[in-house]
Symmetry: C2
Subunit: 506 residues, 2 copies
Amino acid sequence: MARVQSLNPATGDTVELDINESSPDEVRSLCEAASVCAPIFAQQLLSSRAELLDAMASELEKGATSLVETAMRETALPQGRLEGELRRTAFQFRFFAQVVLDGAFLHVSIDHAGDSPMGPLPDLRRMRIPLGPVAVFGSSNFPFAFSVPGGDTASALAAGCPVVIKAHPAHPATSLAAFEALTRAAASKNAPEGLLGLVFGLDAGVALVDDPAITAVGFTGSVRAGVTLWRQANARATPIPFFGELGSANPLVVTNAALDRAQEIGAGIAGSMTLGVGQFCTKPGLIFVPTGSRGDELVHELAASLDKLDSMTMLSPGIAQHFREGVDAMANISGVRHLVGENKEQGTSSSAQLFEVTTLGFLDPSSADLGEECFGPVALVVRYESSDDLEHALDHVAPALTFSAFLADNDKDGSWLLAYGQRHAGRVIVNQFPTGVGVSWSMQHGGPWPATTAPAATSVGASGIDRWLRPVTFQGVPSDVLTLALRDDNPLGIPQRVNGQLSTKH
Amino acid sequence: MARVQSLNPATGDTVELDINESSPDEVRSLCEAASVCAPIFAQQLLSSRAELLDAMASELEKGATSLVETAMRETALPQGRLEGELRRTAFQFRFFAQVVLDGAFLHVSIDHAGDSPMGPLPDLRRMRIPLGPVAVFGSSNFPFAFSVPGGDTASALAAGCPVVIKAHPAHPATSLAAFEALTRAAASKNAPEGLLGLVFGLDAGVALVDDPAITAVGFTGSVRAGVTLWRQANARATPIPFFGELGSANPLVVTNAALDRAQEIGAGIAGSMTLGVGQFCTKPGLIFVPTGSRGDELVHELAASLDKLDSMTMLSPGIAQHFREGVDAMANISGVRHLVGENKEQGTSSSAQLFEVTTLGFLDPSSADLGEECFGPVALVVRYESSDDLEHALDHVAPALTFSAFLADNDKDGSWLLAYGQRHAGRVIVNQFPTGVGVSWSMQHGGPWPATTAPAATSVGASGIDRWLRPVTFQGVPSDVLTLALRDDNPLGIPQRVNGQLSTKH
């Protein structure tokens, strides 16, 4: 059984962790424990579940110094970024505690027995119940916020589901330390055994998706790995929902009328596309800019801003290698001009890259790969002649997590661009940059296929809890054995729809 | 191109309809028209959409006499049943008009820009938008309520999606007449062109699922056809959600303590399992009854009630043939006693059938097929010795649309049976029968795989609309170009969550 290695991407140093990759038996045993835990955890009071989530936030905060140090060594991400990410991650647990206490996520609806145009109807009470054990696949790029203690874990626990997490190989020591913080919190709240599991290794991930106890999967990562696991989830004897957030090229459009702000927008794009060394799934990767001198000015400012940047350290040698291959492929497509970047670096070091192409070159069938996401600090500027030309080019862009438009007041292109954006993305942004995905009630982090495998779901924000629930209707169940959420006197004080009328909490 | 035939299952007479099965070009053309229609229909006011649904209800009612006559000839279902089904179908359109006007289905959430523990957050506004053209596959057993003018069509239109419907071959003339009623209503309300399409033929159904304009599928039918089409939907270049309601064996348990009502329950089961000639997806097909004399009394009453029934006409020769094959297979499993029914009838004629087996026989690996749904007036009684014996047997029953338990007051078996039921079914019923699926806010008609292909969805009730929607967040969009649902002054008067606080309509 292979030992788990922790690599410092800045120095190339490795540390052998005192653990092996998880064996099939270990995976099975954690899933079985989660399965035994599931009905017990599901029946706990919402207030207990909220306290558990709060305790997890506190344990992450208590361990912050050590967690950030470990993550710095393993990811080469700067201290400030990791401290901020850990704050966000702790906040995310507290936020989901509020979502749990709010209770609207249960979708309670009560219809008392009575007459209808179809004849008499029985007493019907509907709510959502937790699915059961959830498998979570941590990402490479956010060692906290989208990994072991990330949004998938927090939302699944909030829904009432045990989780078994597959650690990302780019940061195993951070994964283990974060997992231990969560298990300390669980122990302090006497959570039922089997609530949390952690596995290491590619084979363990495959075994996890196949395990009969697993009822759903949350995944953040590449299209290749995500689609493979999605297929695997569908090929099970009992297929299960697979919520994969697979990233996208995130088109950003600057209209002709918005070019009054050419310099400001150009500099802003440079900041957005290199945030986190371009290793954000919301990085704007396709930048549509009008032809002409004011468009040139924007591109010039963007290029100049990128040129000023020092070379950066990527998350792992594999990611850096993929990045260099992607950049080389782009540079070799005829009609594509390489505006910024040398692409001659080694190891995990890389410098920002910028390319430019006309819509004609972009639409050439031989350059179909140009529209694909290249993970890292690179973007392709597509220069368009007119609104029609832009619309035609956008029709050939794959759906994305985000669509950004820089517009002027009363911009003639505003209306159709907003309409386009909502058909092709999960988040439509005006005069702002797509990087930055706040944890809030109104966030949507998802998009049409292939940006995500389940476009009606989000992996960030309150609605992330929806993924781990399933509705059940109770018909004619005597009130003394009804679960509290469905009782007429509403002892939990949660929103209930009663005979069609929605009422907020008492 | 094959002509479409309409068959009278009672007499065997056929009528040739003046239509062909739909060609690939016709399917493509209807899907393209739906695609053009989709953004126009999506932007109409909710009040217009509700008026359209109301108009469809009225047109169905206006055409009731002729629709019911046509359906009687094609399905051999009795007049009273079809009249009731058409009333329900019209009501369903009116009900979805109310769901549309209610507006909660949009899931509007507004977070104003402000500070958070993660730093400043932008203005974020989230709502659900229609997916686009939806393909609907009508069922055999409900020529109105689950066919052309059924719940899938009504809920998809309510969500703002055009529909292209594949008519079931068991009732093509009824399908065409119902479709014409819907198109008359659409014309009377100046609905955009391409809103409704109808196709005939197996190949047309396959082409429909593959058409790039189709964004989701609603299906009611057999496991075999449903799983095949679900695979096809997943194998597309852009996979789409497939909401298949595939039926199930619907276990029904009578506890020892409930046997005081042995005769009443036995007679009730006979009525429930033969309603609609047993051709309901909620038919109780597995009846768990204690051993001993009071259990014998229940089974005796059930058998006697079935014995009194005349032979019945099934929906089509194919369904009757499947039914006879299923009954023969059950009769040939060793340990299974055939209590009621001759199974020697011909054509579409059939008589009620009842079988009995011990838990030992039921759990024998060679009788694994016993737990599968057999569509038609047949049930298998499983006699159990004790609660442990019952629990062990239930653990080998596939998940289902419904789970029914007949309990006494303070029944010692109540608690674990309710817990079992919600894990294994979409609707849990106490002291009532599962047949009858009312259109209401609190209905859930779905269940874990393989009862449905999307266990978080329902094909009946207000939440049926959820299947055809996808959330989008708008970030930083100026208020003057925001869609009405997302505006601060809430001109639509719909429920909005604002900065985390849910408020009902103004």
